[in-house]
C-alpha cells in the first residue's frame, strides 16, 4: 500500500519558528533530471532557492537534442519545465560549462547543496578495427545532427548508399531507422533541422538493417516504437520467421511487456509478403527494414581503396543463459554484411566532470546511494549520470524525485548545514565575470525560442532550431 504517509516532520516546526537562512541549491544540467530534481525540491520545500546551470545557451537537454523530431508529444514535458523555470525561486543560467567555467568546489562554496544532473555526453565505442572509417557514425552524433545539436552540425553524413546498418537494438536505433526511412512529407512538418532535411531529401538509403548481438527476447527497444516502425508508410518490415521459432511458448510466462513485444515481432514476421504489398497502397514498398539477431560486430570492412566502409564482419553468436541476462558467445562462424553506412547505436556514456567528484569509470556513473554522492556530503546526482544511460523520461523523473527526496531528508535531518549562509549566484556571477563568461537567463532563452518558432512558422514547422550558439547569443544581444 501507499505507505509513507505522515510522520510529523519535526524539522518543519523548527524551520517555521527559526529565521534560518533559505537553503540554496544548485543543479548542474537542464535536462529532465535537472528540471525534475529542481521541481521536486521547490515544491516540497517552500523556502528553497534553486539555480540550474546549463552548458548550452538553451535548456532541456535530450528533450530538445535527443527525442526524435517526429515525437512532438514527448516534448510536452517542457511546458512543465518552463513553469518551474519561471518560478520566482528558480534561476536558469545557460552558456555555463561546469568543470570549465566554474568548478564544482566553487559551486559548493556558493551553495548549500549541489546536484549533478549533467547526463551522458559521450557514447560507448565498439573497440573494433575500422570503427573510425568514413561512413561510420555514432548514433549520438547522428541524432545530434538531425536535432540541431551545435557540436554535430558539421557531421554531414554520407547518405549516398542504398543499405545502412544500425548496430544495436535499442530505441535510439529505431529512432534512427525511422528518420532514415520516413517519407519526407512527414518529416517536413517536424522541428528537424532544415539542413538535415535537405540531406535526407537526397538520401539514397532504402534498406536499413538493425543488428543485435543477442536474440529477439533480449531486444532493448519498446513496443510503441516497434509498432511505429512496422506502421511506417512506404516501408516494409523484413523479419525472418526462423528467428522466432519456438518463441511463442518461451514468452508464455514472461512479463507482459516482453510477451507483447515478442508477439508483435512474431506476428510481423509471419505476415505474408503478399498481404504486406497489398497493404502498401498498390505499389510494392520501395523501402525496407529488418532485424538481424545474434550477430556481434567484429570489424568494419574498408572499401578496396581503403577510404571508406563497405560492410561489417559479424561474429555469429549463441546465447548462454536465459532471458535478460543471456550472454552472446561467438560460435566461431562469421558473416559479412554489405553496407555503405554504419551507425553504431550501442549506448551513450557519461564522462567525469571535475576531479572533485568521484566517478566510476567502469560503470560510467557517479557512485551514489539514493542520489547522495558517496563520500562527499552536500553533493548529489540524478538522471543518466546517476543511473547510467538508460531509461525513458518517466524513469528519469522517478529517480530525480528520489534524489530530491534524499536532499530534503538531509535538510530536515540537519545533515546539510545551513548555518553558513551562502551567496548562490552572486558568488558564481563574479567568478564567471572574471573569466569572461556571460550566462544566458531563462527569459533570454524565451527570446531564442520565440525566434525559432517564428522561423519555423514560415515553413509550416513547429520551430526552426538555431544551430549556431553564436547566432543564439546575437539574438539576445550578447
Amino acid at each position: 500500500m501507499a505507505g509513507a504517509g505522515g510522520r510529523a516532520p519535526l524539522g518543519l516546526r523548527r524551520w517555521l519558528s527559526s529565521a534560518a537562512p533559505a537553503p540554496r541549491v544548485c543543479v548542474v544540467g537542464s535536462g529532465p533530471a535537472g528540471f525534475y530534481t529542481a521541481q521536486h525540491i521547490l515544491k516540497h520545500h517552500g523556502g528553497a532557492l534553486v539555480d540550474i546551470y546549463e552548458k548550452l545557451p538553451v535548456p532541456f537537454g535530450l528533450v530538445r537534442f535527443g527525442v526524435a523530431p517526429d515525437h512532438p508529444e514527448v516534448k510536452n514535458v517542457t511546458n512543465t519545465f518552463t513553469q518551474t523555470a519561471r518560478s520566482g525561486r528558480c534561476g536558469f543560467y545557460g552558456n555555463v560549462t561546469v568543470g570549465r567555467d566554474v568548478t564544482v568546489p566553487e559551486l559548493q562554496r556558493a551553495y548549500h547543496a549541489v546536484v549533478l544532473s549533467y547526463g551522458a555526453e559521450d557514447n560507448r565505442v565498439l573497440g573494433i578495427p575500422g570503427e573510425n572509417l568514413p561512413g561510420v557514425y555514432s548514433a549520438r552524433a547522428f541524432v545530434g545532427w538531425y536535432n540541431g545539436l551545435p557540436e554535430n552540425q558539421d557531421l554531414k553524413p554520407d547518405l549516398s548508399c542504398e543499405t545502412a546498418l544500425i548496430l544495436g537494438h535499442g530505441n535510439v536505433a529505431l529512432d534512427i531507422a525511422r528518420i532514415l526511412l520516413s517519407p519526407l512529407q512527414l518529416l517536413r512538418k517536424t522541428d528537424i533541422t532544415d539542413s538535415s532535411l535537405a540531406a535526407l531529401a537526397c538520401s539514397k538509403v532504402k534498406r536499413v538493417w538493425l543488428v543485435g548481438r543477442r536474440g529477439p527476447l533480449q531486444v532493448a527497444f519498446t513496443i510503441k516504437e516497434l509498432r511505429e516502425m512496422i506502421n511506417l508508410p512506404g516501408a516494409r518490415a523484413v523479419l525472418d520467421p526462423a528467428d522466432f521459432t519456438g518463441l511463442e511458448s518461451a514468452v508464455k510466462d514472461a512479463s507482459r511487456p516482453r510477451k507483447r513485444l515478442t508477439e508483435l515481432m512474431i506476428k510481423t514476421a509471419l505476415e505474408k509478403p503478399v498481404e504486406m504489398q497489398a497493404a502498401a497502397a498498390g505499389a510494392a514498398a520501395p523501402r525496407e527494414w529488418g532485424l538481424k539477431f545474434q550477430r556481434s560486430p567484429q570489424e568494419v570492412l574498408p572499401s578496396a581503396d581503403g577510404r571508406r566502409a563497405r560492410g561489417v564482419r559479424m561474429a555469429l553468436t549463441r546465447l548462454e543463459g536465459l532471458g535478460d541476462s543471456a550472454k552472446a558467445i561467438p560460435t566461431g562462424d562469421v558473416e559479412e554484411l554489405e553496407c555503405g553506412l554504419v551507425l553504431s547505436s550501442i549506448g551513450y556514456r557519461s564522462l567525469p566532470l571535475d576531479p572533485a567528484v568521484p566517478f566510476d569509470s567502469q560503470r560510467g556513473v557517479i557512485p551514489n546511494s539514493s542520489g547522495r554522492v558517496e563520500g562527499v556530503p552536500g553533493l548529489y546526482c540524478s538522471g543518466w549520470v546517476k543511473r547510467g544511460p538508460t531509461g525513458v523520461i518517466i524513469t528519469t523523473m522517478n529517480d530525480s524525485f528520489d534524489t530530491a527526496q534524499s536532499l530534503l531528508e538531509d535538510l530536515q535531518g540537519g545533515v546539510l548545514d545551513l548555518s553558513p549562509s551562502r551567496e548562490g549566484f552572486g558568488l558564481v556571477e563574479s567568478i564567471l565575470h572574471s573569466r569572461g563568461v556571460r550566462p544566458v537567463s531563462f527569459s533570454d532563452w524565451e527570446k531564442i525560442d520565440a525566434a525559432e518558432v517564428a522561423r519555423g512558422k514560415a515553413a509550416g514547422k513547429p520551430r526552426e532550431k538555431i544551430v549556431d550558439p553564436a547566432e543564439m547569443l546575437r539574438i539576445i544581444g550578447h
Binding site: M1, G5, R7, K43, H44, E73, N79, K224, M397, D402
Partner: protein
C-alpha cells in the same frame, strides 16, 4: 495507515500551471484526448464556455477519490466525458509528475490503479494505450492510463490509486510550508 501528515498542496505547482498552458499554448501535436466528444470540445475551447457549464447542475458531476502516493486522499469532481487527466488538471490535484505528456499517450505518468468492479466495466483498452502502459511503474492487473479513461455516471464515488513511484517505499519529506 494513511496518517494525516501536513497538507502538501502547493497550489502553484505543476497541475495548475499545466491548466494555464492548456488554454494558452497549442502543442505541436495537440493532445489526443482518449475521450471523444464533450471532453475534446471542452479541451479545445478551454476556458469552458459558460453556457455549457451552466446546464450541468452539481448532481451531474461525478466524484472521484484519488489515493496519492503518500496515502493522502484527494477528492474531486468532474463532468461526464472528462478524462481523469482533466479531473486532475481542472482541480489542481497535486500528484507529482502526473500527465507529463498532456494526454498524448507518450509518457505513462498518468498511470492509475482501479477498483476491480470499475476496471471490469471500463471501455476496452487500445493497443496504443497498452503499449504505453507496459512502461508504467508498478503495473497491476487493474492498471490503466488516466488520460484515456473518461468519466461516466456509473463511476461516481470511485477510488483510484496512484502507484508508488520508486521501488522502495521511502518516507517522503515535505517542507513546503517553510518560507
Amino acid at each position: 495507515m494513511a496518517a494525516p501528515g501536513p497538507a502538501r498542496l502547493l497550489r502553484a505547482a505543476a497541475a495548475s500551471s499545466r491548466r494555464w498552458l492548456f488554454s494558452s499554448t497549442s502543442p505541436a501535436a495537440g493532445p489526443r484526448p482518449g475521450c471523444s466528444g464533450a471532453a475534446a470540445a471542452a479541451r479545445a475551447a478551454r476556458p469552458f464556455s459558460l453556457s455549457a457549464r451552466a446546464v450541468l447542475s452539481s448532481e451531474d458531476k461525478i466524484t472521484v477519490h484519488f489515493i496519492n502516493r503518500d496515502g493522502d486522499k484527494l477528492t474531486a469532481k468532474g463532468k461526464p466525458g472528462d478524462s481523469l487527466l482533466d479531473v486532475v488538471v481542472n482541480n489542481n490535484l497535486d500528484i507529482d509528475g502526473f500527465g507529463a505528456c498532456e494526454g498524448t499517450l507518450a509518457c505513462s505518468t498518468c498511470h492509475l490503479i482501479f477498483e476491480d468492479h470499475i476496471f471490469e466495466k471500463l471501455d476496452a483498452i487500445t493497443d496504443e494505450e497498452m503499449d504505453m502502459l507496459d512502461l508504467a511503474y508498478g503495473l497491476t492487473e487493474t492498471s490503466r492510463l488516466g488520460c484515456q479513461i473518461c468519466l461516466k455516471k456509473s463511476m461516481n464515488d470511485m477510488t483510484v490509486r496512484v502507484p508508488e513511484a520508486v521501488a522502495d517505499v521511502r518516507q517522503s519529506v515535505d517542507m513546503s510550508k517553510n518560507s
